[in-house]
Subunit: 395 residues, 2 copies
């Protein structure tokens, strides 16, 4: 019950143990096409360029930023947690001109603050984290896409921590590029990053198109006029060519991870977007109620808390790491530590995907409550469980 990676759905584990197919076997390319279709539904988009990057979530981030941003392009990154810093740092490595605005960890940006910054800095691209697990906050996105369209700015969103746990509407919210990972609410293994980009981003990428020597023929195909993308592995143009019907060879697709990604999407879509989101909301509310009954203070602005990861202050005098170790040793429950300014101050408890269940929420509260008693914090485990149960029973 950490902030991810989380327990994988057994159906996904089983999918990964399927025998491999050759990468150009028609059965496998059919799986690739099917997976693109499934992720269009997951991302709620019609984008043709919807594919998997073979690497962890940050590989997906880097594929988008390195492919969209040419050296010298200006990018604005509103930072409200660790992963905002990550977007800024990846963009800087692409030699973009990076402008950041920051807000305190535990808060998010009102849309008008972002709009003011966009108007002031006139970036080519705005890069935003949707939900930042480091602070448990989710940035509202509904209005940002429209602001960007009006001002001619490309909008990229890192939805790693929110996809399949909270609403994420790629097309309806006018998000130009979105990337994520499997290892949070999709309940898959880390190491695969679904990405979707629209025609606006495809145009940017096509300008920088490049075909490897020795691949097509003595006379290679024409390349785009723009500067070559600095990564070969994360070159979205090449990835799009590979996932297109031309199947221009690039890397060898990570077969087993594709099986996993496909199964994650199937499970998610069988449950449905709204039922899945409401399951996460309920768990987040129940957990917070239980933590409150344990006389613990939940971290961050309650209006913008993610339902699938909850930060909670470590009470005065309680050794945070010893509690985490005891939970793992005595109950087999892992909860998260935290980064940067919150290090040693809060724990983070995930309720994600397959692990987002009533059983897990109640078990975690019972285990945490009894463990806190052992370390001298006087609050009742049974009251915590009762408070959470009350939420589940319609409270």
């Amino acid at each position: 019950m950490g902030p991810g990676p989380v327990d994988v759905d057994p159906r996904v584990l089983r999918a990964m143990s399927m025998p491999l197919l050759g990468q150009f076997d028609p059965h496998f390319t059919a799986y690739m096409n099917e997976t693109m279709g499934l992720y269009r539904q997951v991302f709620r988009t019609e984008n043709r360029a919807t594919l998997l990057v073979d690497g962890s979530a940050r590989a997906g981030i880097e594929a988008v930023l390195a492919s969209a941003l040419a050296p010298g392009d200006k990018v604005l990154v509103p930072v409200f947690g660790r992963f905002g810093h990550l977007l800024a740092e990846i963009a800087a490595r692409c030699r973009a001109e990076v402008v950041t605005i920051e807000t305190q960890w535990g808060t998010v940006f009102p849309p008008e603050i972002i709009e003011t910054a966009v108007r002031a800095h006139r970036p080519m691209l705005l890069a935003l984290v949707h939900g930042d697990t480091s602070t448990t906050m989710a940035q509202p996105l509904e209005d940002i896409g429209q602001i960007c369209r009006e001002l001619g700015v490309v909008l990229y969103v890192d939805a790693t921590a929110t996809i399949a746990g909270m609403a994420l509407e790629t097309d309806a919210w006018s998000l130009d590029a979105v990337s994520c990972g499997l290892q949070k609410c999709l309940s898959g293994p880390p190491g695969c990053a679904p990405v979707t980009v629209n025609e606006r981003v495809e145009v940017l990428v096509r300008r920088r198109r490049h075909v490897e020597r020795g691949l097509v023929g003595p006379e290679d195909e024409e390349s785009g006029a723009g500067p070559v993308i600095q990564s070969n592995y994360l070159d979205l143009g090449m990835l799009i060519d590979y996932w297109s019907e031309r199947r221009l060879n690039h890397h060898t697709e990570a077969t087993s991870m594709l099986y996993a990604a496909r199964e994650c999407a199937r499970i998610m879509l069988e449950e449905g977007h709204e039922p899945r989101q409401s399951r996460h909301r309920l768990a987040g509310r129940a957990l917070a109620a239980g933590l409150g009954a344990l006389e613990l203070r939940v971290f961050g602005d309650p209006a913008y808390r993610m339902p699938n990861v909850t930060g909670v202050y470590i009470p005065e005098g309680v050794p945070g790491e010893a509690v985490r170790a005891a939970l793992l040793e005595d109950f087999g429950i892992e909860i998260g530590t935290s980064f940067g300014p919150l290090h040693g101050r809060i724990w983070r408890i995930g309720t994600m995907g397959y692990g987002c269940t009533r059983v897990n929420v109640l078990s975690c509260l019972a285990a945490l409550g009894t463990t806190l008693r052992r370390f001298g914090h006087r609050a009742s485990p049974h009251e915590a469980v009762a408070a959470a149960r009350a939420i589940y029973e319609g409270g």
Copy 2:
């Protein structure tokens, strides 16, 4: 029986279906350490920095080149097939000054040619493919390391297609950096790149060390004086910090792929280096004998052919793609097409790892022989099988 990815060992498939552990769970970090130790044995090295890059083989190549080469550094790439072009292209994207020498596809470089080029160009780094599946040739490496040491050049080798199929002696041959993949003779899934670098390369990388903001504390640790590595995801310095006892958070390790990589190495080491190499040599000889009996001409300089992938000319008048399709449809056997100058001229048949068996070699010859008959090529399938069987029976 293509040139990779190949059939995965069922033990590896089973390993991938194990439940996930949290990335900082002591059981998981113990697996990480164990896997480093196993790959030291696979690579035949004492290098501390022996780890997995979460991406396909080319992600491993790019991690080494992007981390070792700073902009303006000179790199020499002897190109004897498609993957030499790939090394040159990745190095160019790192803004290195790239010098290539080329030899005809189907041949390799005599060491003295490489030595002359190194003396002429004085590169900072020499990048070499060990076995290039595009041409089925393996470059002898025994003497190259010494040449590089004498001339103060860093030697990087891409051993994706040879590791666990041919001898590869990282330390004995003085290779400074080696990367590979699981999907050839290690019989694992694509999407994971074991990498090893020695202290010489670690020094280069440490100079460019960089710690992400928001990770450690308000005052980040000091960074190296060198230019920041242009990729965050493939920053070897960060990867080394993550795989070290400090476990400085970077990406989330691809748990299931690590299970796979660990099992691949265990299987390989149980069999032993020499028995495994001799199994591949025998299969390569048997396959070539059978192809000869089918009156087919094997591609490339026989002195330097890889035992685990065999190129064979498509006979005059035979439709190469129709034969490949028939093999897949009628016998469930996939053989490879080829790239660039060899496209449409040769097929490539893999005998790799778990798939490198007498049963596969004989079945492939029988299937290919009967299919060729159907397409008008007059040669005897039973003679092909007999010729290969004779090799297996001590011929």
